[in-house]
Each structure stands twice: as C-alpha cells, then as structure tokens.
C-alpha cells in the first residue's frame, strides 16, 4: 500500500519529520518498506514564464523562446512543441536537471544555442500526455521550484499491510490508525452535495438473488455528466499512489478506492437493460466479455452483476466491456457493494484475475460503510463532471451484518502484557480505535467492534491492539540468563579436560585435605606461595590437617598406587581447586590443572622401537592445552628451578610476565618418597589465570591468502647457549610481514659440529598477502637472514 504523506497530512494533523514518522509507524505495526520522494527527481526544474516566441532561423518546426525563470537574464530555449505561446507558465528543466536518464545540457540546435528544455507532462513523468508542453494553469512566480508549486514534494510511504487488516487499504483507514498512534483526531473530507428531485429508485432497481454471496448492494445515479479528464489535484494523488488517470468517472472510483479502501464500479446507465440490476450467480457455461477483452466461460459459483438479460460485471473483480464508461456516457450508475470474501477469492483465483478490487473484497470490506463511500463517489463525480445526483440510494441489504460485541478484561490484558494499564486508559485506547465500550464491572468492558475490523474476533485480538498502544517496547523484559552463568570457566575446563582425555589421560578425583609433610617431601621452600596454608581447626587427623595448596602430592600418590597394580605407562590429571590463605579471613581458591605422565609417553606399538620420553613430550602436552584454550600466543617457557624437577629438565610457564605453572621431569629422589620407581613427567598449571582470557567469539575468518607460499630450508651452526626461540625471533624480524612461519626440523650435535655448538635446521615459509613473491626477492631475504644471524649471534650457515 502506497501512502502519500501529503495526503495523509490533509487527514491527520501532523508535521512530524518523515523519518521519525516512518519509524513510529513501523513500531506501531505498519511496517514501512520504502519511502520514495518523487519531487526529488524534479530538481532543477522550475516554473518559467514564456516572454517571447520567435521562429527558429534554420528550422520550421522549432521555436526560439525566451523564458523568465526568476533569474537576472531570461533563458534562451529552443522548443519544438506546437502549443508554446507567449505569456504562459511552463515547467523548465534547467541545465543540470535530470529527466530519467536524460541529463539537460547546453546544446546547439541548428546553429542556435539552447539553455534548457520546456517539458511536457510525459517528460516529467506526470502523465502520458506528450502532445505538447505542459501549460500550468495556476499562477506562480517564475523560478519557483516546479515540484513545490505542483505539490509534488511529497513522500510516498510504501507500507506492508498484513492480510488481516483490510481497513488499512485506504487512506481513511490509515488516518484512523495514525490518529490512534499519535493520540489525535482525523478528519475525512466533508461529504455534501445537492440531490435532484428525481428519485434514484424510480430510475433503477436492484434485485439480489444470492444474498449469501452479496449481503448488500447500493446504487446511486448521476444524470447528465460530462466525461472528461479529471482535475490536476485528483490526477496527482492517483499518480502518487501508482494509478494512471483515465477520465473523471473512472478516476473518481479509483480515488474513492484509495481514499476509503472500498472498491466501486461505475456503469453506463444506457447499457443497463430494463433499468434493473440483478445480482445473481452465473448460469453454467454463460459467457462474458471483460473490460480487458478477456472472454470468460462461467459457472454457477461465479457471482455476476447483470441486467435482466446480460452480465454487466464479474462481481467485485472486474467490469464487463459492454457496460463500461466511454466518452459518450451521459448517465452513470455507481455501484457500492459488499461481497462474500470467500467467493471473490475463489473466482479471482480461478480466472487468475488479481485486481485492486478483488484484492480488497477478498480480505473483507466494511458492509456498513457503503453509504458514506457511495456518497463520496457521487460528490466527486459531480464535482469533476457536473450533472445531477438523483435523490437517495437504492440500498439492498437483505441480511444485516451487525458489529460483534466482545468482552474484555483489564486484568487479563495486564497479565498478558505484564502491564499496569488502568480501566480508563484501556477505554481511551479502545475508543481511539472507534471501538465503543460499555463498562460492565470495574475490570471489564463490553466492546463493540466496528465492522471495518473483521480481524478482531476474540478478547485476545483486542488485547493485541491494546499492546500496540501500550508499546511493545514498554513491556518489561523478564529474562534471567547471562548474568551469573560461569560459561567461560565451564568452557575452558571442559575444553582442557576433553583435550587431555583424547591424549590418553585419565581424570582423578582426590579429597581437598592434605598435610604439611607433603610440602616438605616436595622440598617446597618456606617462602613459596604454597606455604600460605589454610589450616583446619578440627581436622579428622594429622594427615588431613590442612587444605591442599598443590595437587602434586595427590597425583604422585595416585601414580604410585597404579604402579603397584602393575600399570607401567599411564597418564593422570586432576583439575580442581587449591586453597591459599591470603590474610586475615581472606582466602583464595584458584583452580589448578596438574597432570603426570608415568613411564613412556607413547603407548607401546609393535611397529616402532620404544621411544625415549623427553621433556619435549610434556611440553607438547602443555602447549596443546594452551592452544586449545586460545592462549598459546601469550605463553613463554623459561628454565625452571623448582626443587622437585630434575636439573635442566623442566620449564616454568609464563603468561606474559606472570608465572602460572611449570612442567618437566620429576626428580627420582622425590619419586622414591612416593614409592615410585618409574620415570614421571609432570605439569602444574594455574587455570584461574587462563580462564579469563578465553573468548570463544575471538575467532574470525580470515580470507585465504591467494599468493603462493615459498618454502626454504636454512641449516646453521649456532653456539649452544643461544636458544632456538632467540634464533627464530631473529629470523622473523628480518621481515615479519613476509616470514609467516619458522619450524625447527633438525637438531644435531656430534662429531661433525664443533665443540660448544649445535647444528639446527629450520623450514621457513615466506608469503606475501599482496603479491606473488619472486625467487629474487626471497633470495634477498634469505641473504638478509644469514647476515643478520651472523652479525647478531655469530651463527654461521652450515657448509655442506
């Protein structure tokens, strides 16, 4: 449905800015799909006054005009139209104006320059008339913007009308809705006209044969009308709403259709045989020629408007060709009826005829609004074509359709909306919708639903209307998720656990109690954080006298127990809290992840020799856990001096500068205290430091680099004290944008390598995000890497 904002403003007093208005309308339930500003396309088109018209020196059919457009000098414009004369007002497209795709420029026509164009209606997109230039009848100042002068500076608001709201298919219905929305009144045009002495019923009679399919039929007559083009204001409104002007009679029915949303039909009285309109169903195989030159073969479900002999129209869908208005029409019969929506829908569907009329009838029109509509049509026809309106309406209404009366409870409304509307408030809203109310108790009303609202059938339908008035966004949100939930911790814990399990770890569960002996056994120094003990006042025994400050002893005990059951190679972890005293009545309960790898890291496999388990196995486990919970990039490893690890066999783990754990190979002497004769590697990580960093939403897709990578190997002899990480950083720093990846793939120390050095080989990936790398460029980078390593670290390229 297209709504002209200017037209709407004639009906409802509002000066609201268009965007604000549309936002409000959408939130009220009438969704705005598009707003078009037709006047915008008429920029640089102004009113011009033709001062003089001369013959073009070199062309017979062209005129040389001087046109006053309100500027100092009149414009010199060449015009080819036959109707251009002195002293008329015309639309002038100045240089820079655009008419569709056509841009107005200064042009040379047969040796004479033209500074613009005088336009026809069709060139302006106003009508199809291209017989000559448009002559403006009203009086305007030259230079006034054409769109303003013609009232075309409008906004056409295209709204989606839901199928339950046929009342919104006309401007009056929209105005009524908008008035409710803005809490104001709307004023339809006043309907007044004079009727002649001749009674309508003396000239035409109506017989309804099928009252079920046509419960009401009204007819009016105008005699002696002139068929002619309708006035500009009417044409403008039709065009704005997407309809093409034809003549004053057809235009009036269309205009009233737009205004009231109710379809009308006009018959040429002369073509109605016996002065009688019969509303009947078709005979089987009865034929009829429609306005669009289509011949239908009908059957007994199709409803017809006919005279005594022939069909005049397919009811509610389309008129017949024979009875249609033409230039010679003198007397007009106006039809305004109410048809059964189901029947119209079935017939329209059957013949594939979706018309403005059927579209509305099949959604349900207002049977009790017919008189107003037909009077409005009569008024406008007379206004645009003269003639005399006969007195009275022939109104055939065999079965009265009465408004529904529904009960409404205020308390029920409030309980559904969780609102607190008073009975007065509710009543006011209902009355705004033109629902009349009768208070039955303190809490309830009897609500009379006008027949233009067929969608309101139950109490809950009324409550929906009240909800819109109350404002959907004023309903309090009652929601409880995402305030407290520990999703972040839960996710990290589950990711870490599941990952370790897929690496073959078994989870253990130990009680929280411990004794200080365990800390002594691990040789944990007195100033270590794990000595901030939480001591029980009433322990269940000496070995349960404190809350454990580390998970390590329990895991070693679990390992010893399982070794005693003849398990040789296994992995265990526990993820639980430790307990630390932080001050007077202040305690911390950080979550730790601690694991042990007992015996061989890899499970025994007949195909391979038993590997030598090394520090790098446990480091690999730790790195993969960190990768799994997305924090590997912040992690670094430094040689550890924890007392329970073998010398030079362990690393402390740092998150930025904070030590958050360690991993490495356990000292035999410690293991012996736990009756363990096997080798044990261990990791111990404070997860409470990791959890807050996890963000599952941080993963964002990156476009795949379309330029190919270049792989190069570099083998170097490096002094042993230089760490691999240092070398990698050094390589990367040569060109961090191009050097994407550095992988160590070989380490060798032995006879061929000089004392105090080791041979290292790296695989380097070069790749640019913006171009294909040339060999020459990669060679240059490679040379830079070699010289940088040599310069900064005395690292030499290995000579093969």
């Amino acid at each position: 449905m297209k709504i002209s904002y200017n037209w709407l403003k004639e009906l409802v007093p509002t000066q609201m800015e268009i965007n604000e208005f549309c936002a409000k309308l959408t939130m009220f339930g009438l969704e705005v799909e598009e707003v078009i500003q037709p006047g915008k396309e008429l920029e640089h088109i102004v009113i011009g006054k033709v001062i003089s018209v001369e013959q073009h020196p070199n062309a017979d059919k062209l005129s040389l005009c001087r046109v006053d457009v309100g500027e100092e000098e009149p414009l010199s414009i060449i015009c080819g139209a036959p109707n251009v004369v002195k002293d008329i007002l015309v639309p002038v497209a100045k240089i820079g104006a655009k008419l569709g795709d056509f841009k107005i420029k200064k042009v040379m026509l047969r040796g004479v320059e033209s500074f613009g164009m005088i336009c026809s209606e069709s060139e302006l997109g106003i009508s199809d008339d291209h017989s000559g230039i448009m002559i403006i009848g009203q009086n305007f100042e030259p230079g006034a913007p054409f769109a303003d002068a013609m009232g075309m500076n409008d906004h056409i608001i295209e709204v989606e009308v839901t199928p339950n709201r046929p009342d919104l298919l006309g401007m009056i219905g929209v105005a009524r809705e908008v008035a409710v929305m803005l809490d104001t009144d709307y004023t339809p045009s006043e309907i007044t006209f004079e009727e002649s002495d001749v009674k309508t019923e003396s000239e035409i009679s109506v017989i309804i044969e099928d009252a079920e399919k046509c419960p009401r039929y009204c007819a009016r007559m105008i005699k002696g009308i002139t068929v002619q083009p309708s006035p500009a204001w009417m044409q403008r409104k039709l065009i704005a709403s997407g309809l093409r002007p034809i003549n004053n009679i057809v235009d009036t029915t269309n205009y009233v259709l737009l205004e009231y949303g109710h379809p009308l039909h006009a018959f040429d009285y002369a073509k109605i045989k016996d002065n009688t309109i019969v509303v009947r169903t078709a005979k089987d195989k009865e034929k009829m020629m429609l306005l669009d030159d289509n011949e239908l073969t009908l059957h007994s479900d199709n409803l017809l408007i006919a005279d005594k002999k022939h069909p005049l129209a397919l009811a509610g869908i389309m008129g017949g060709l024979d009875s249609s208005i033409n230039d010679t029409t003198k007397d007009v019969v106006i039809e305004c009826a109410y048809f059964d929506p189901r029947n119209i829908r079935a017939s329209a569907l059957e013949y594939g005829l979706q018309t403005e009329s059927s579209y509305r009838f099949e959604r349900g029109m207002d049977p009790n609004g017919l008189v107003e509509v037909i009077d409005r049509a009569a008024q406008l026809m007379q206004l645009t074509g003269g003639g005399e309106i006969l007195s009275g309406i022939v109104d055939c209404y065999p079965y009265q359709i009465t408004p529904k009366i529904l009960p409404l409870r205020v308390s029920r409304t409030n309980s559904i909306l969780n609102a607190n509307m008073s009975a007065d408030e509710v009543e006011k809203y209902l009355n705004n919708f033109e629902f009349s109310t009768k208070k039955t108790t303190q809490d309830s009303f009897e609500v009379t639903i006008p027949t233009f609202r067929p969608d309101i059938e139950r109490e809950i339908d009324i409550i929906e209307e009240l909800a819109r008035c109350y404002g959907y966004n004023n309903v309090e949100s009652h929601f409880w998720i995402n305030r407290i939930d520990n999703k972040q911790k839960r996710t990290v814990v589950r990711l870490a656990k599941n990952h370790l399990i897929s690496l073959g770890f078994f989870e253990v569960n130990n009680m929280s109690f411990a004794s200080t002996d365990d800390l002594d056994t691990l040789k944990i120094p007195n100033d270590d954080y794990r000595r901030n003990l939480v001591e029980l006042a009433n322990p269940m025994g000496e070995q349960f006298s404190i809350m454990r400050s580390t998970l390590i002893p329990d895991l070693l005990r679990n390992a010893g127990l399982n070794l005693s059951y003849k398990f040789e190679n296994f992995k265990l972890f526990e993820l639980n809290r430790i307990y630390l005293k932080e001050g007077e009545d202040a305690y911390a309960e950080p979550t730790y992840l601690t694991g042990v790898i007992v015996g061989e890291f890899e499970p025994f496999y007949w195909k391979e020799k038993r590997g030598v388990t090394s520090f790098y196995d446990v480091k690999g486990v730790v790195e993969s856990v960190f990768s799994k919970v997305h924090c590997m990039k912040n992690i670094t490893f430094k040689l550890s001096h924890q007392p329970y690890y073998k010398k030079d066999s362990a690393a402390d783990i740092f998150l930025e500068d904070k030590k958050i754990g360690s991993c490495g190979i356990m000292k035999d002497e410690i293991l012996h205290s736990f009756d363990i004769e096997a080798s044990v590697m261990m990791f111990d990580i404070n997860m409470s430091n990791i959890i807050p960093l996890y963000n599952e939403k941080e993963i964002h897709f990156e476009e795949i680099v379309k330029y190919p990578p270049v792989l190069r190997d570099i083998a170097v002899i490096a002094p042993s004290q230089i760490e691999v990480e240092t070398i990698e950083q050094s390589i990367k720093s040569v060109d961090p944008n191009i050097i994407q990846d550095i992988q160590l793939f070989d380490l060798y120390t032995g006879k061929q390598v000089k004392q105090g050095c080791r041979s290292l080989a790296f695989n380097i990936t070069f790749q640019s995000k913006t171009s294909t790398l040339t060999d020459k460029y990669v060679d240059k980078l490679f040379d830079n890497i070699v010289s940088k390593l040599s310069r900064e670290h005395q690292i030499e390229l290995r000579q093969e």
């Binding site: 929601f479 939930d485 839960r490 001591e535 029980l536 127990l561 399982n562 296994f570 809290r577 009545d585």
Partner: protein
Amino acid sequence: MKEQIQEILEEARNSIPSCGSDKDLEELRIKYLGKKSSLSDLLSKIGTVPKEERPQMGALLNTVKNEIAQLIEQKKSVLQEKEDSARAQGLDVTMPGRPLPIGAKHPLYQIWEEIEDIFINLGFEVAEGPEIESEYYNFDALNTPSWHPARNPQDTFYLKGGMLLRTQTSPMQIRVMEKFKPPIKIISTGRCYRVDKVDPSHLPVFHQVEALMVDEGITMSDLKGALDSFVKRIFSADTHSRFRPHFFPFTEPSAEIDILCISCNGEGCKLCKNSGWLEMGGAGMVDPAVLEEVGYDPEKYTGYAFGLGIERIAMLRYGISDIRKLITNDLRILSQFQ
C-alpha cells in the same frame, strides 16, 4: 529324487563359500561336479523317473549343476584376489593398529557435567562460589538457629580463625540473591564438607548441586516440575519422585525427595534397603525469612530450592555401591568410564 537334488544344492551352498584354500575348493569341485559325483549318479538314474516327470527333472539337474559351477568360480576369484594382495603387502589384518590413546573423565565429573547440562537446558544459570565460607552465609543468612546441631564442630569443619568449609552449596543462594534482583534461576555446584568418617556411604568431602528459583508466582508445582524434569532426564523417563515432609531451616515447607528405586521399581531390594524408595536430597519453598534477609519482598516473591548429592547420583547411575570407589583413582576403575 527331487529332494535329493535339493539336498545336494543346500550342502554345496554352505560348503563352497566357507572353504579356505584352492586345494579344498578343487576337492569340492570333484565332489559336486566330477564324474563320480552324486549329481552324475542321479543323472544316470533319470530313466527310473516316471516318463512325464523326466524333462522337468532333467532341467532341475542342469540348473543345480550350473549354480554349483558358478559358486565354485566365484569362490575361486575371491581366493585368488586375497592371496594376490596379501602376498604383495605382507599384510596381516589381525595385527593391532597404531594405538591411539583414549583416557576418561572421572565418573563423578562426567555426571557433574551431565547434571549441569540438564539444568542449563532447563534455563538455569550455573553459579560457583567459595568453598571457604563464613558462618553468616553458611548458617545465619540461611535462617539456621544458633542452637542447630549442624553448627557443631562435630559436624562442620572450621578453619583456624573462624571461617568454615561450606556444608552445602546453599550459601550461593544468598550470595546470588544479594547481588541480583529476581527473577533468579540458578544452580550452584561444587564441593562441600561435613565431618563424617570415611565409610561405604560417607565421605567428608562430597559434591552437591543446588537449584534456586525465585520470581513472582513461583509455586511448589514449579519445584516438583523442575525436580521431575531433572530425575527423568538423569535416570529415565519413568522415574517417579515423591516428597516427604522434613525440616530444613531455610525452606518452608521443607521436604526430602525420594525416587522410586531404580533397581527394583519399588518392589524392595538391597539397593533401597527394601523400602522401595531412594533418598535423593532436600527441597522446599524458600523461607520468607531468607528472602527478607537478602532484601526481597516475601509478599511479592516466592521461590524454591533443592539440593542433591552428585556422588549419590553417580553411584545410582553406574551401580557403584561404595562411595569410596569414587576417590580411589584406580585405573582398573577409571578405565571402565571411557
């Protein structure tokens, strides 16, 4: 004669596909199709068949012969193929593949996660709180009278300095309600402590899940509905629950929750000590005094709470009768929960 032919075919259909080598197959070929085979024998005796049945019998003999020949051919190519590729690869498909390790979550934590997920699906949020608590949160705010025996050091672990180890997850109720306005719909899970000798049904350290919902119009029906939804999901759809009147300081009315014994369905067995019912935990409508304590209007809001032991649920689900099994960390137990 017809029966004899069918018998031979049946036998061939069984023996040919199950034969394992070329040599065996050749023997079978001679047995069924050779000159001295029983089929040849029958063919020679076809003259003894009444004249009108002879063509039919002859045709049957031929079909059977053809089918057996076909079976032998098929088997031959299967044997050939097997031999070819195995010989080339030196493959023994019965040797073990690369052992990729699979560990296991501890059964208690498996159940814990499952419980959390059930309640999350029911729209609950999961709240965690400290295990080291003050007497205020563990007892006072929960409307526990000062004389209540639970406060005794014979029942509750105290720390040097006066704090205690929470005896239930209920203190989180108070912590959450202090901080947030209704509606509240949470579970809190975690370790709890009570002074109990380690025996087949007690550990001094155990785990609880506690649910709390507070809003306008929450009724005892909501409590029963939430509990029923839970027990039916964690056990089975036909698990029944019942409420028994009981006393808890922080709920009124209070109840103990039983479920119909999942082992005997109420008939009476060892698991339920012949009562037909298993005790699951405590429940009730939040005491108005507790709501008042956290600044809620008890006239406006009502709520329910219930608490369940996670060890108990794990034991019932897995059929573990001794709670100590859940802390032994014996791989012979843990590896059953892969």
